[in-house]
């Protein structure tokens, strides 16, 4: 088989020339850079290079690897070798001449725009190499049109200036537009824990940012930096971590400035059958209460039933003993997780697919799948946690067993109820990043399969979807209080399950670091925050609301999220048309307000 190999020695490489195209049969075992038809247009990652030494995958058989691979390397291998490169791309193609400065000779060939690259293929008779430019390295773009040809000037981040002479005015404009559109945001856009800490630090002095998990040695699923009570030092944290499952010692999730109390999350303590205790863990929770308003009570909200929590002792888990944590009171609120939740999801989707069923059949299926019951439970538990923080002015620690699923569901929803900032577009993205992605929700495992998969579910659970559904219910009850619309929730749902962006890749910060997700993929947030996309995802009716929003959780107030579950089933909904009308009105309002009043009268 012919090998296509592109060297990085050519002069046409962008600054981030890890953009390495490696032919099949290359020495790198794990990540092969294939160039099939679909890949170039929908290439997920920035393009992979993988020096074997820093290969993040310990074994090619690990399930994570196959997952990653499937995301990074879509599509089949081409079977015919030696085909012209540009043949592989269908769109955004034009004949062009590339001028690379006074020294280098001009290049002629076919210009293609792919999802992430600009390619110039010299054609079969051409002698020179194929020329590639990562679109992300383009700093500015300028287009000029004269006669029936155009010129695009690209100024790159490495200070290079490139000029493309393109045949055809349409083609020029098309290509310029594509480059403009695909250039995306600059840096890998994400919200580090430091950012939230800055906000907390403005409000209180009782907390500090600890980098004790810098090398992920304490906790595999926590980020590098976490927010902990100032009074507790890193050594104590290390011992705490050993007392909690997966090392997830209690960390700050949300500081509620008006009451001076906090929302914490962790995993279950490893009390085990011998009812072990940990002085540092007890000290940490004592410090939490001491740092809050004097006399503030503490609540430990266990997302398992009392019985399940007790049973967990057999396998080394358990709950905080009452005597060991003075000032803390334990509450149990069982939330469904894991397989039952996945089954509920599957059954609901099944029910939604059956258009012929009778009224009674539909209602009984809706009841039997229990999805809305899970929504109600999640929302009311979040309300309970939020109420504790706001009304009771108490510190609330939320945990279940691992603390990576229902715990996050509760803490993130409670924040949405309490914190007006988290209801803004940026705030919500930060919340998802902080409370789900950074907090170590194992997206790779939970979202490996959706509702149609025949594969027997192992780790799959639609916890994140349940969160989105609850947010949707909040948005329905407070239609003016969320800055984002249903569109953002649908986008997050889609991207959590399959995404050309790297944001939801991997199951923890550690894995993301090992896979170099941040350097090799694009961030979903940059994609969503492009002005055009952002505008679409906005809620046109948003009015900032500084109050807490307490939803009704009565079954009469909850509704099936038709926009998601019946999205592909129901005919184009007239209510969507109605929403478009709301948009139009908004636009016309903006227009009238900014209108130039003298445009009409003419003599």
């Amino acid at each position: 088989m012919d090998e296509i190999e592109f060297s990085s020695t050519g002069s046409g490489w962008g600054p981030r020339s890890e953009v390495l195209a490696v032919g099949w049969g290359n020495s790198c075992e794990t990540v092969r850079w294939l160039l099939p038809r679909g890949l170039l247009n929908s290439c997920p990652a920035g393009v992979a290079s993988c020096p074997a030494s820093s290969c993040p995958f310990p074994s090619p058989r690990s399930p994570r690897l196959t997952l990653l691979e499937s995301v990074l390397l879509l599509g089949p291998r081409p079977t015919t070798g030696g085909m012209e490169f540009s043949e592989l791309i269908r769109t955004g193609r034009a004949q062009a001449k590339l001028l690379r400065g006074p020294e280098a000779p001009p290049l002629r060939g076919t210009l293609c725009v792919t999802g992430h690259h600009l390619l110039l293929s010299p054609g079969p008779q051409g002698t020179s190499d194929l020329w590639l430019l990562l679109l992300r390295s383009v700093d500015s773009i300028e287009k000029r049109v004269s006669g029936d040809s155009g010129t695009i000037t690209l100024r790159c981040k490495d200070l290079r200036v490139l000029q493309l002479d393109i045949e055809g005015v349409e083609a020029t404009l098309d290509i310029a537009r594509s480059i403009e559109g695909l250039r995306l945001g600059d840096a890998w856009h994400f919200h580090p824990p430091e950012r939230y800490y800055k906000r907390v630090a403005r409000e209180t002095n009782a907390w500090r940012l600890s980098e004790v998990n810098e090398d992920f040695s304490l906790c595999l699923s926590y980020p590098r930096a976490v927010i902990v009570p100032r009074a507790v030092d890193d050594d104590a944290l290390a011992r705490c971590a050993r007392f909690r499952q997966g090392g997830r010692f209690p960390v700050l999730s949300y500081h509620h400035a008006p009451s001076g109390t906090v929302l914490l999350r962790s995993s279950q303590p490893l009390t085990g059958p011998q009812k072990r205790r940990c002085a540092e863990d007890e000290e940490l929770l004592r410090a939490v209460l001491a740092g809050a308003r004097p006399g503030a009570p503490g609540f430990i909200l266990d997302t398992r039933s009392a019985q399940a929590a007790k049973q967990a002792r057999v396998t080394g888990g358990g709950t905080e003993a009452k005597a060991a944590y003075p000032g803390w009171k334990r509450l149990h609120r069982p939330l469904e997780r894991g397989r039952p939740l996945q089954e509920s999801f599957v059954r609901l989707v099944e029910a939604c697919g059956d258009l012929e069923q009778s009224m009674d059949g539909w209602l009984s299926q809706l009841e039997a799948c229990h999805w809305l019951a899970h929504v109600k439970e999640a929302l009311s538990t979040a309300c309970l946690a939020a109420r504790g923080v706001e009304r009771e002015e108490a510190c609330v620690l939320v945990h279940g067993a691992e603390g990576t699923d229902s715990t996050l569901l509760v803490t993130s929803l409670a924040q949405l109820i309490l914190d007006p900032l988290s209801r803004t577009m940026t705030g919500f993205q930060e919340l998802v990043e902080r409370e789900w992605i950074q907090a170590g929700h194992p997206f790779q495992l939970r979202c490996a399969h959706s509702a149609f998969s025949h594969a027997c579910p192992k780790h799959e659970a639609p916890t994140f979807l349940l969160f989105l559904d609850c947010v949707w219910q909040l948005g329905r009850q407070f239609p003016l209080s969320l800055e984002f619309g249903e569109g953002l929730l649908l986008a997050l749902f889609e991207h959590a399950y399959a995404s050309p962006f790297g944001t939801f890749l991997c199951s923890s910060e550690k894995e993301r670091c090992l896979c170099e997700v941040r350097t090799r993929t694009h961030s979903l947030w940059s994609g969503l925050n492009q002005p055009k996309v952002r505008r679409k995802l906005r809620n046109p009716l948003y009015v900032p609301n500084p109050l807490a929003i307490w939803p009704s959780v009565e079954p009469q107030s909850l509704r099936l999220w038709q926009g998601l579950f019946l999205r592909w089933i129901r005919p184009p909904e007239p209510s969507q048309v109605a929403w478009e009308k709301v948009w139009q009105r908004l636009a016309s309002k903006e227009k009238t307000e900014g209108c130039e009043p003298t445009s009409k009268p003419q003599l």
């Binding site: 009841e367 407070f478 239609p479 003016l480 009716l541 009469q556 003419q602």
Partner: protein
Amino acid sequence: MEHIRTTKVEQVKLLDRFSTSNKSLTGTLYLTATHLLFIDSHQKETWILHHHIALVEKLALTTSGCPLVIQCKNFRIVHFIVPRERDCHDIYNSLLQLSKQAKYEDLYAFSYNPKQNDSERLQGWELIDLAEEYKRMGVPNSNWQLSDANREYKICETYPKELYVPRIASKPIIVGSSKFRSKGRFPVLSYYHQNKEAAICRCSQPLSGFSARCLEDEHLLQAISKANPVNRYMYVMDTRPKLNAMANRAAGKGYENEDNYSNIRFQFVGIENIHVMRSSLQKLLEVNGTKGLSVSDFYSGLESSGWLRHIKAVMDAAIFLAKAIMVENASVLVHCSDGWDRTSQVCSLGSLLLDSYYRTIKGFMVLIEKDWISFGHKFSERCGHLDGDPKEVSPVFTQFLECVWHLTEQFPQAFEFNEAFLLQIHEHIHSCQFGNFLGNCQKEREELKLKEKTYSLWPFLLDDQKKYLNPLYSYKSPKFAVLEPNTVSFNFKFWRNMYHQFDRTLHPRQSVFNVIMNMDEQNQQLEKDIKDLESKIKQCKNKQTDGILTKELLHSVHPESPTLKTSLCFKEQTLLPVNHALRTIEGSNPADNRYSEYAEEFSKSEPGVVSLEYGVARMTC
């Protein structure tokens, strides 16, 4: 007043029906001749009309007092705790008496006085004119005529006087047919579709028994199908379940035998009777009244109540009717047993699907007036206005409103009115505050002299129109000429805002409608401002250009004209601030922020000048 023993009780507690904590409001309970009034410590008033009370219950004495539970026909449920048992007993007895009147004359409508004089009241009654409505539909015409057969309510007591029948149906045929129909309700026109020349007709069941036939009736049906020049066959829709219709045969009633009638296509559509509907609603209310209801109990309760199934059945029937006319161009005759419950539902919903006029505020009033009030839906019995047979009470009209609500949910842009309008109408079918829904048929209403003694609801609703407008309504859109709803099961939802109207805790806390309405209002104001300003500019320009134009025309042949143009620009610009000042002096609201923003925009704008130049340039070409 003789029923009222205690008029005021203090320290009464009002419990929240759904709150899990035993939160309560303390206040004073007043009993008036028409209302029960509760004023809480925040001075918030809760008014309950005696006629709205469906059920009063005194529960077992508790430590805090005597609980009194009042269930209303508008689905309000209040739970008082009266400190002394004697007070509670007095109020209980008074309410029992006051909520069930024996005579029409004791109803609220006969004492309600909205401070209008006689001519205003009469005008109110004339607001809805059915003759006008039939004219709008295009009857009388060459095929349909007004019949005077029922002028003195001689043939049918429960029909109105004015009835439209096929022109070829003679009086003997009508009389003969009416004798063959239950309660004399022979086939008459309900809606005429002008474009399709097809008709919706309504009647009651035939007295066919197992074998009886009536030639006049057969002729009348034939006349109806002949009145449709396009399609010779007609549909006969029996809205009952087949089993019910067959059971009726044993009592000498039944349904049309297809062999006896030429060119009919007979169809059952299976809507249950009033008793089934009553108990279905009862079950629904029991389920959703449960405190701390779980999701599973809610949905299994919703299912076992069958309520949404019934709603779907009514909707499906209406769709069948609309399709017969739109797709097959066939006339349809609709009946049930007596032809005043299910028939009213199906005919009115069918017309609503076919004719966008009925989806306007005024049109909806006309529709109710036509298919429900005039054709003798027994409002007083179905709503239990008087102390009567509880077996006659049934939420038939409520179902109709719910079907309309489901349509508004599916077609948010097709209706001029919003949900509040439907709720308000529902409120008043039970309130007995206005005369429209009193009595069971037109004859009875005339005898009660309702038009002289009571007021009509419609003008009051029209006055308040603004509250009932749907901001998303787009009347022009041809998409919504005929509605084709999708009755797939998941399109039917529990109507929370009806059955939990007064349980505010269950409602969304913010209303999109209100915001859009406000936005619209602002927009209109702004647009008005623009128009005002534009017309002012125009005036000013006209004054100027009258002078300049002639000059300009002269100059246009000379190349020097640009200098003039600049001077023109200059003049025009200096003019603007003056204009602005004028506007302010005239007294537009300066506090209105938007206006001032707009004014700024205005004062710095140059395009006015540009457009003037264009205008001039065109003229010189």
